[in-house]
Amino acid sequence: MRAVRFHGRGGQGAKTASRILGTAAFLEGFVAQDSPIYGAERRGAPVAAFTRIAKDPIRERGVIVHPDLVVIADASLVQDPAARVLDGIDERTAVFVNTSLTAEQCQAQTSLPGRLTTLDLTDIALQQFGKRGAISALLGAVAGRLAGLHRESMSGAIARELADLGLAVPVIEHNQTIALQCYDAVRTVPLETGAAQPAASAQLQVPSYEPPTRGTARISAAANSILRETGGWRTFRPVLVPDKCNGCWLCFAYCPDGVISMTKDDRPVIDYAHCKGCQICVHECPTEALVAEREQEGAVAWKAK
C-alpha cells in the first residue's frame, strides 16, 4: 500500500488534490481511499488530507501516521506546529514541497528528514492563472507522478474532480495542461513502502478528577489568542512605503483582525506575526502606500513560538 499525506492551507486545494490522486489510482485499477480532516478549517488555516493506494482492499481509515509520501502545498507549514507536517516522517519518506527553493536548499533550511523534491507551483499558478488560488490540480499531478501513476489517469482524474467542483470546461482544460507540465517537471524520488512496524501497546494514563476550574472547557486567560500566530497564512504580505503614507487611518479601520496599529504620528505598524495576508489594507490604501509582496521562503517571515 502507498500512503500519501497532503498538507495545505484552507483554500489551497489539498483536499481536492487528495481526491485527484485517489481517482487517478482508481482509474488505473487500484483500490483507493481518500479523506480530508474535517474540522473548522478556514481559508489559510492548516488542513490535511489522505490518500491510500493499494492492490488489495484497504482496511485502514483516517489519519495517516506513517506516510510513504508527504505533499506540502505551502513551505511555511513545515514550521507551523499546528500543521504537524513532520509527524511520522523519517529518512525513507518521500517529501514534496511547493517552494521556489531547490531540494538541497529546502533541506538545509527546514531540516526535513525525508527524500526531498521541490517545484514552485505557486509561481507556476501565478504565471499561468494570473492569481493566487487553489493549486489542487498541480498538487495532484505532482503527487501522481511521485506515486508512479500514469499521465493519462492524472489528466482524467483532474477532469472529473474539477468538474465536480463546478469549474467551466476551459478552466479545467487549462488546469490539465499546466498540471501535466508539473507532472513532467517534478524530479522523482524513490518511493519505499516498507512493512509497517507493529505498534507497541499504548501506555494508558487515565486522567483523575480535577476541580472544575481546570476540569471544564473554560478559558480564564483573557485575550490569549495573541499567542496563536496566524502570520503563516499569508502568501503575500502588505508592506508600507513610508513616503507615500498620508496617515489616514483607513488601513487601521478596515483590518478585520486588528493587526494594524497607528503610531502617535499616524503611521501604520503591521503585526506580521498575526497578519493573515488578506490584502484589504493594500486594496483600500488611497495613496498606494501599502503594497503586496510575495512571502519569501528564504527569509522565514514567521516562526512558531
Binding site: 495573541i226 497564512w233 483582525d257
Partner: protein
C-alpha cells in the same frame, strides 16, 4: 431629514484599543470579524458575549480566546435565552449584594444569519418581548457559512449556494427573497435597531454609541461580506460591502422606537456592479446572461427606495 453623527465625526475618533485580539481561526478578510472588531471598540471590555453556533464559534476555541471580555457558547437556537439567563443572574446577584455593581457587564448575543433569521427566531422574539436589556449582533453573510455555504433565509434572490445550485430549471440560482429580519424585529418595537456595514466605520461606531443610551433590546444587523462563500478575493471585502451599500441593496438605517431613519442615502449604482464582483452570482452573467434575474434584483431595490423616498 439628514442623519447627523454626534459622537464619531472623524475617522481618528475610532478608539485605538482592541477588544477582539488577533490569532483567531476566522478566514482572512472576514467581513463579520471586521464589523465585530469595530463594534467591540465601542462596547468596550466589560462584555459577556453569548454566542450561537456559527462561524464565530471558532473565535473562542480551547485553549485560546481573542476576547478581553467573557464568552458563553450556548446553542444555535437559544443564544438570546442565554443572554436572558446571564442578564437576570447579574441583576439578581447585584440586587442581593453578592456582586458589586462595578462588576456588571453588557450582554451581547452573537449570531449568524442562519441562527438569527430562522432557528433562534423564537428565542429572539421572546427576548425582545420580555424587553431584555441586551445587544444582538447578527453577522449576516447570507448563508450557512460555517458548514460551507448552504441556503439560509438571508440568502438573496439569484445567489448560488451549495443547496441552491444552478440548474436548467433554475439557471438564476435561488428564487427565494431574503427575509426582512429588520422589519420582523421592528414589529416587536424594541428601542433600537440598526443595520451596519464595516466599510462605513463611522456609521457603525456612531450607531453603537447611540444604542448604548437605550435600555432594552438593541439589535444590529451587520453586513458580513464573505470571501470564502461569496467567492471573491479576500482583499475586496470592503469593496464588496461598499457596493452593497452604494447599489442600495444593503440600506444603512436605524429605527428608534420603531421610527426608521436611513443614515446614508446612496446614489444607487446599478446592482450589476455589485453582483459581478462575486462568484456566487457569476451564473447571472455567464455562460448565458440572466437578464430577467438581474432586472428582478434591480426592480426590488428600486421599489424599496421608492418607498423610502416616498
Amino acid at each position: 431629514m439628514t442623519w447627523q453623527r454626534e459622537t464619531f465625526k472623524k475617522i481618528k475618533q475610532i478608539p485605538r484599543e482592541e477588544h477582539v485580539l488577533p490569532g483567531t481561526a476566522l478566514c482572512a478578510g472576514c467581513g463579520g470579524l471586521e464589523a465585530l472588531r469595530l463594534a467591540a471598540k465601542v462596547l468596550g471590555g466589560d462584555v459577556v458575549y453569548v454566542n450561537a453556533a456559527g462561524c464565530f464559534t471558532m473565535l473562542a476555541a480551547y485553549p485560546f480566546t481573542p476576547f478581553k471580555g467573557s464568552w458563553l457558547y450556548t446553542t444555535m437556537g437559544s443564544a438570546p435565552a442565554g443572554a436572558q439567563g446571564v442578564r437576570d443572574a447579574l441583576d439578581v446577584l447585584i440586587a442581593k449584594g453578592r456582586l458589586p455593581k462595578e462588576e456588571d457587564l453588557k450582554v451581547v448575543v452573537l449570531g449568524g444569519d442562519g441562527s438569527t433569521y430562522d432557528i433562534a427566531l423564537s428565542s429572539t422574539s421572546g427576548a425582545i418581548t420580555r424587553k431584555l436589556d441586551f445587544y444582538y449582533f447578527c453577522y449576516d453573510n447570507e448563508a450557512y457559512g460555517n458548514t460551507g455555504m448552504q441556503l439560509s433565509p438571508a440568502t438573496p434572490y439569484g445567489a448560488r449556494t451549495t443547496t441552491s445550485p444552478c440548474s436548467l430549471q433554475h439557471p438564476a440560482g435561488t428564487t427565494q427573497e431574503k427575509k426582512d429580519i429588520f422589519e420582523i424585529w421592528r414589529a416587536h418595537k424594541p428601542p433600537y435597531i440598526a443595520t451596519v456595514a464595516p466599510r462605513y466605520p463611522l456609521d457603525l461606531e456612531e450607531k453603537f454609541a447611540r444604542a448604548s443610551k437605550f435600555t432594552g433590546p438593541k439589535l444590529f444587523l451587520a453586513l458580513s461580506a464573505c470571501p470564502t462563500g461569496w467567492l471573491y478575493d479576500p482583499g475586496e471585502t470592503p469593496e464588496v460591502a461598499k457596493l452593497a451599500v452604494e447599489t442600495g441593496l444593503w440600506p444603512l438605517k436605524e429605527a428608534i422606537d420603531g421610527q426608521v431613519t436611513h443614515t446614508y442615502i446612496p446614489k444607487r449604482k446599478p446592482v450589476e456592479e455589485y453582483l459581478k464582483l462575486q462568484g456566487r452570482f457569476r451564473h447571472l452573467f455567464e455562460p448565458i446572461r440572466q437578464d430577467e434575474a438581474i432586472r428582478h434584483i434591480q426592480a426590488r431595490v428600486d421599489d424599496y427606495w421608492k418607498q423610502v423616498n416616498g
